[in-house]
């Protein structure tokens, strides 16, 4: 096997949950790794490391992305919102409460990603149809709920948070 090539660390500055962060890291390490290990923000989960399960969903400049696929070097100057930040906001709490009310949380491991995905969905579409909801969470795998009660949560959030979206 070829010898490992070293990558020199870089400094990356970005805004995480409305706070400025400056960190020295390996440029190709993922945003997910950076959040969980360097910044000890563990709400965002690792489920697969290959961009398939959505457990690592975060908002990157307002867009839903898989943090495991995003090298930290590309986060320079960006605004990142994770569940740690979202849960402090009224909209975030609306989604969380809806998810709890619908009992769409079982083991909870997909839940952070789902909250982010539901938030992104409602931000783009404040009154989604069932099909639109299912499409909006199509990149977030859940093995416990069969999705039914997460779809219910989206409806509850849209309804109860009608002024918010």
């Amino acid at each position: 096997m070829a010898s490992k090539v070293e990558t020199s660390n870089i400094t990356v500055e970005f805004v995480l949950n409305h706070r400025e962060v400056s960190i020295e890291v390996e440029p190709m390490q993922s945003l997910l790794h950076t959040l969980r290990v360097d910044l000890i923000n563990t709400a965002t989960k690792e489920g697969c490391g290959e961009g398939e399960c959505g457990a690592c969903s975060v908002l990157f400049n307002g867009k839903l992305v898989n943090a495991c696929m995003l090298p930290i070097a590309q986060v320079q100057g960006a605004e990142i919102l994770t569940l740690e930040g979202l849960r402090e906001s009224e909209k975030g709490q609306c989604v969380i409460n809806a998810l709890l009310e619908a009992k769409g949380v079982q083991c909870g491991f997909c839940s952070p990603g789902m909250v982010l995905a539901l938030y992104a969905l409602l931000e783009a579409n404040s009154d989604p149809s069932e099909e639109e909801i299912r499409r909006g969470i199509s990149g977030n795998l859940c093995r416990c709920t069969g999705y039914g009660m997460i779809v219910d949560a989206a409806r509850i959030a849209a309804q109860k948070g009608a002024q918010l979206w």
Binding site: M1, G47, R87, C107, F109, L141, C144, G146
Partner: protein, 786 residues
Amino acid sequence: MVHCDWLACTTIPAESLPHTRLHNLMRLWAGTHRTLGNLEHTIPLGKYALVVPFVALGIQVFYGKRWIKWIDVRDLVMETVNTKFKWEEATGEAKYIADRHYEGLLEARFYRSTCPRGKIDKAHIPKLPEGYHLFGAKDVPGHNVLPIVEIDWPAFADGEVRHVGQVIFLLVGPDPKVLESLIQQIKVDYTPLTPAYTIEQSKAMADGPIHALDNVLDKHALTKGDIDAGFAQAVSIIEETCTTSYQEHTYIETQGAVGYPKDGKVVIEGSMQCPWYVHHAMAVILGHDKVRAIQCPTGGGFGGKEDYPDVLAAPLAVAVEKLQCPIRIILDRVEDISFTSKRHPVEFRYRTGVDKNGKVVAMDIDFDINSGAYLSLSGIVLQRSITTGTNVYDIPNVRIRGHAWATNTVPTGAFRGFGSPQTCFCMETHMSHVAKRIGVDPLTFKREHMLTSDSTTLTGAAIYGDLILEQMLDRVMELSDYKRKQAQCRAQDPSAQIRKGLGIALFQHGCGFAGDLEDTLVKARARLVKQSDGKVTILVSNTDIGQGLTLTFRKIVAEHLDKPLEDVAIAVPDTGVVPDSGPTVASRSIVIVGYLLEKAAKSLKQQWIEGESQEIEEVYKKPEYHVWDQDTYQGNAYQVTSYGMNVVEVDVDTVTGESKITGVWAVYDVGHVIDEHVFKGQIDGGLVQALGYGSCEKMELNSDGVFAQKTMADYVIPTAMDVPSIVSETLDNPYPYGPNGAKGGGELTHNGGAAAFAAAVEDAIGKPLSSIPVTPEKVMEALYGE
């Protein structure tokens, strides 16, 4: 021990602290301050309380700048789960094992066999840098076995390997990159033997048997009535082979554990269903009982974290004891999919005799299950498959024989349903096919054969309580508008590209351990601890792995104590604290342990003394009606059985073979439901998982004995766009030996979906299907042949 370096003094034993999220709190006031010690406690007083450790008597708690509470440590009990149900999970506060911080943590990786079968001749280990350690069979202080039913499965492979991926070494050190590099440098020389991957190859025994003389890890047989007399009455004989394949749990959180030394014990905490199994595995490999196992929030189990955590825990315990520091092992997804336990693939061969009245008069069932390299849970899967082999039907003369075969593949283990999804698929499919062969509508045929309350079961017992199968069938047909839809399907244009189909499955699930093993083996004990202030804590070893025990158990106790839910807490399942109420498997938590809690709560209420601490323990007692012979398999195969029916509607595209599931309806008898919403979650989740099992979850062994599908891109589980919303109902049929009349239901919901889906597709295309998953490839094959 907790040391607050802010005050640079005083320590308090961790056990006596209140429920305080110490590391989060410390971080709040100290900026980026890191965790202190191995503390995980939750205070219900508010997220921003500051805790100042104070020696001897108690703890002063600040909220903002004010004193608000003085807690007497003598009143404090063990760590409990946050009582705001799933709040921590939904807010991202819940700390799963990979989220936890441990001072001085080392990482660990398995070195796994690359050879499917052979002798280990020599291992070439690179020189280990300072701080890196390798553990193997020679380092085991106790017994190098995993006590999973039998003791045939070594913790570290010793001299031989039986499957690709088998654990040979555990490598420990600080830097994951260095570990990866070292793993790549390890080379093992094997003398290979011809491996057997399939049941067929196992029977052929090339290069001799893997196990014993015949590769049979377990076998059993059962008869009812007189099979020959039965066949003598038959006017038609129908033979069929039905098969099912592997299924991977795909919990969204992979397997993981952390071990550390504490108070003279080796402690392992992690993602698990059964802390006492892990405890026992550690005790066996270390040769002493100074061990402790603690369940962390677990991101899904489905049976995959029933025995497999032992595979992590045993080697980890050896390393922790030796190195005396925290060590973590987390499987990455590819490793998890490739090498952890899977559902048993099965092949059922039926020979069925039908008499002139169209009644099944004899059924001879011979089946095989692929056990993988070691026995593990195959014997119990075999027992369930045999003793419930005729599903919900009353067949007068039956012979059923089952074998579990050793192969050079990953040991198959527990997966929701534990043999029942396979048995139900095979039996439901076969019964439909028998009906069609004799020209009878399958639903009518099945209804005519259903067990009634007066029936004698396959294992020769009377049915306990009342069966409501007729009512269930009527109800599911009503819910799904079955008759009208069936007529529509029959009237559709045969040349249309999209063909509609409707399928139904009837199924059951025996709750609790097989036979009367709850009585002879498990002997569950549950405890309620009441503090002087009237708050009660539940102490059981059953784990909430998503099915909501942290709510349902508390509801049972709160109701029977006549107390508000907030006054009842549940302890973290920690073998240092909780009694052994048995594992979280076999749909036993509610009916067996929940019932113990109901009894305990009733006793406590009766004996309640205001202002005093009290403790009540209940031990499992078998209900009197339950008789069982574990050798002859006669009596009540399970303490009690739950029932279900699923209807699935599909649109099949005859151009591509793809099926779209357009409707799903389900009806269940689980006695009584403790929490409607929580059980609906089990219905939705179990049924979708079963639909995946029946349709898209393809897992194939390649010619190297490993799974061709090993990433989440290739092992395909349903997304939100693959399934519709499920319409479901539960019918009340209270069971006197269950809490509030409840039986079990966590696995029941996975037993029918695959059969119903396959039946629906078969209905749409008008061609028989006898194996799952029913992939588009299989549909095209059925439609257009060779």
